[in-house]
């Protein structure tokens, strides 16, 4: 592996993480996040404008396409911070659109005037994305489109190419449903929408990147939830002792910590491999493995965080509940554990054949 760019990426990552402080308060306050729940589109356009101002839309656009050409290490560093802050905006979905569209990303998105999100998923419970294009038009559905409730453009990914579709396009119906964390998930229905299909060969790669980036988001979420839980264990007393002094809770806390550090190690090593050139099988395997680890981590931490908070854990007013709701809302995005293990099992066949 080449480590020649070590300092570069670390410096870039540091700058991006610093810039995220404009959106994720350094003091850990979740009041903005709490207030944004359960009304409107589930996200704040102003925050998306800030994200554009900070240059994030250009992160995953190559330098020769006018972008910053940053790697997955920088992207994961950013996503981890966003996860720790439970940022509800569809940043990852916008970055995916930019990665797919490259120099064809609409100008209004770069200036922050417009929001673009990616619509790729053909059905719930599967990672298929090739549907949707038929005879030069868009047909059928795309599920789980984040930010759909207020996005201006959709980068619609199909086997026939990617189409940039404005919200008001004729034949496009956008609906969305509330999610447990207080956001919304969108469903696009295309009834023969006219569209220009731009060629795109990197969809599978972008999905692998997204799976990894979303794992980093779940890692950030889990880490902060563990920190809050450990703080609670140190101060909450029962039987005149802090409950964190009870060995059985201690041992369970160490298990969370171990799982967390495994996730961090896998995500960080995978991001490095992605940035320094990994073959297709490694990319596929490692993206699945990171998502499996991070998804299970988030669910483990959610479960234990509730239990260790006792009655406080099942109130809506305790901040830990925000993490639990986000974890169960997002743990299965880009494929739950069942899908990841199935795709890993399929790779096993390739290994045998190899």
């Amino acid at each position: 592996m080449s480590e020649s760019d070590t300092e570069d990426w670390q410096e870039n990552a540091r700058m991006i993480v610093d810039s995220a402080r404009a959106i994720v308060p350094a003091d850990g306050s979740l009041s903005r996040v709490r207030k944004a729940r359960f009304h409107g589109s589930g996200f704040d356009r102003e925050v998306m404008r800030q994200a554009a101002d900070l240059g994030w839309m250009l992160m995953r656009v190559e330098e020769d396409a006018g972008g910053l050409g940053l790697g997955m290490r920088e992207t994961c560093a950013l996503m981890e911070v966003l996860g720790g802050g439970l940022v509800p905006e569809p940043v990852l979905s916008s970055l995916m659109a930019a990665a797919v569209l490259q120099e064809r990303l609409p100008e209004a998105v770069l200036t922050g005037e417009a929001v673009i999100v990616t619509a790729w998923q053909d059905k719930v419970g599967a990672q298929d994305w090739r549907g949707g294009a038929s005879g030069g038009r868009l047909l059928g559905r795309k599920y789980n489109v984040p930010g759909a409730a207020d996005a201006d453009f959709f980068a619609v990914v199909t086997g026939g190419g990617v189409a940039v579709v404005p919200r008001g396009a004729e034949g496009l119906t956008v609906t969305s449903e509330e999610t447990l964390d207080g956001g919304r998930t969108g469903l696009l229905t295309f009834d023969g929408v006219e569209a220009e299909f731009l060629p795109c060969e990197r969809v599978e790669q972008v999905l692998q990147d997204a799976r990894l980036a979303h794992s980093a988001y779940l890692l950030g979420l889990s880490e902060r939830a563990l920190t809050i839980t450990l703080d609670y264990l140190r101060v909450r007393k029962q039987f005149d002792k802090p409950i964190g002094s009870f060995q059985s809770l201690q041992h369970r806390a160490t298990e969370m910590k171990i799982r967390l550090e495994l996730a961090r190690a896998a995500i960080s090593a995978t991001a490095r491999r992605f940035d320094t050139g990994a073959d297709e099988r490694t990319r596929s395997r490692d993206a699945a493995r990171c998502k499996l680890r991070a998804g299970e981590l988030a669910m483990l931490v959610a479960r234990e965080a509730v239990q260790m908070h006792g009655a406080m854990g099942i109130t809506d007013e305790a901040d830990i509940g925000l993490f639990v709701r986000k974890a169960i809302s997002e743990a299965n995005l880009f494929g739950g554990p069942r899908q990841q293990r199935a795709s890993l099992a399929a790779l096993l066949d390739q290994e045998e054949a190899a």
């Binding site: 719930v124 009870f246 059985s248 099942i314 554990p337």
Partner: protein, 384 residues
């Protein structure tokens, strides 16, 4: 007083049929099979129907207006109510306070309170937990001081289930700070409309106000609003455990969750997936084995035997199993696991509803951690 047949003289099968017919004929037009509790305004019709027929207090003796059911018959009644999906009424009065009044109450207390529970005029809440006294219940700090002919109460209770629906609350208060913590606790009966009582609702993870905090600020109640002797409240509070624990450990919650898991798996198209089936049958065995264990305790109840501390095994396994089923549901529901509302408007398909409703089961009524501590010491005889 309503004249009821001698249900205990019926065969189990006949009694089951009686309950089934009763429910089918009388259940009002209110929701069935809800995962979360209904509030008084919604469940009131059912309470009043049960009251009218003399069925609101199944375990009280008949001379006090109850059905006088044996534990075995009571279980059948519960099973049939659950089978039909009857909403749970505000039953702190019938289930918790009534038996305590019958055991520890004065004649005057019985005469005043029991009929009002039976009629639904008094809806009770239970004030045990405090912010600093949850698992360590004996650490209650809410205090009461005798001032002339009144108790003057100051302090706070929390996690008071459906406290906002109640017009009376019974509370554990500290009446002596100088003794061992269990020995200075009394049991008071307080009207919620007494000056100085305020409540604040607490939303749970399901975003429903199922419990609340209750604050007492120089609240005065007459000296005779005490149940049992001064400083003997801990005994009364503990007296209720035992029989009820068996019902908490019943496999019903898990069994009904399995049927929802089945439907969620069918919808997700994984019902035929061997990997899913492997996990499904393992959980199914857990439910069946739990049912066999549960029956042992039911037999003990039927035989009038005392239930020991080992019944905590039922509660631990049932609640953790219920959670494990809900976790497989979430996995199977894939991205839909994050939806706030039921897919297709069908509550049976809503994985998250089960997941969230399963969370408190390992926390309330004795957390799994406390139950395991109890088992380790009282049953396994391990040292402190």
């Amino acid at each position: 007083m309503i004249s009821l047949p001698d249900y205990n003289a019926m065969s189990d099968a006949d009694f089951r049929q009686t309950v089934r017919s009763f429910v089918e004929e009388n259940y009002p037009d209110i929701p069935r099979h809800t995962l979360s509790r209904l509030h008084w305004e919604d469940v009131k019709p059912w309470y009043l129907i049960l009251s009218k027929h003399g069925w609101i207090c199944p375990t009280w003796q008949r001379e006090h207006g109850g059905m006088g059911l044996t534990a075995g018959k009571h279980l059948i009644l519960i099973e049939e109510f659950e089978r039909y999906g009857c909403a749970r009424v505000n039953d702190i009065g019938p289930v918790m306070l009534g038996p305590l009044l019958l055991k520890y109450g004065t004649q005057a207390q019985k005469a005043f309170f029991l009929p009002r529970i039976l009629s639904g005029e008094h809806i009770w809440a239970q004030g045990y937990s405090e912010p600093g006294a949850g698992s360590d219940l004996a650490a209650v700090r809410c205090e009461a001081v005798l001032d002339g002919r009144d108790w003057v109460i100051n302090g706070q209770k929390t996690w008071t289930t459906l406290g906002m629906d109640a017009n009376w609350i019974f509370i554990l208060v500290r009446t002596d700070k100088t003794v061992r913590k269990q020995a200075g606790i009394s049991f008071l009966l307080v009207p919620m409309d007494a000056p100085g009582v305020t409540i604040r609702n607490i939303e749970n993870l399901e975003l429903e106000a199922e419990f609340c905090e209750v604050f007492f600020d120089d609240v005065r109640v007459p000296a005779d609003h005490i149940l049992g002797e001064v400083n003997q409240g801990w005994t009364a509070a503990k007296a209720l455990l035992g029989h009820e624990r068996v019902f908490i450990g019943a496999p019903r919650l898990s069994a009904s969750a399995m049927s929802r898991l089945n439907r969620i798996a069918l919808r997700a198209g994984v019902w035929d997936d061997p990997v899913f089936r492997d996990r499904y049958v393992a959980l199914q065995c857990d439910v069946l084995d739990l049912t066999d264990l549960f029956e042992i305790y039911v037999d003990k109840l039927r035989g009038g035997e005392d239930i020991g501390a080992d019944v905590a095994m039922l509660k631990i396994f049932q609640s953790e199993l219920y959670q494990r089923i809900s976790e497989l549901m979430m996995e199977v529901a894939e991205e839909d696991s994050g939806l706030r509302h039921p897919p297709e408007g069908d509550r049976q398909l809503h994985a998250a509803a089960t997941y969230l409703s399963a969370r408190p089961t390992t926390i309330f009524g004795g957390s799994t951690e406390i139950m395991r501590n109890v088992l380790a010491k009282a049953v396994l005889d391990l040292p402190s």
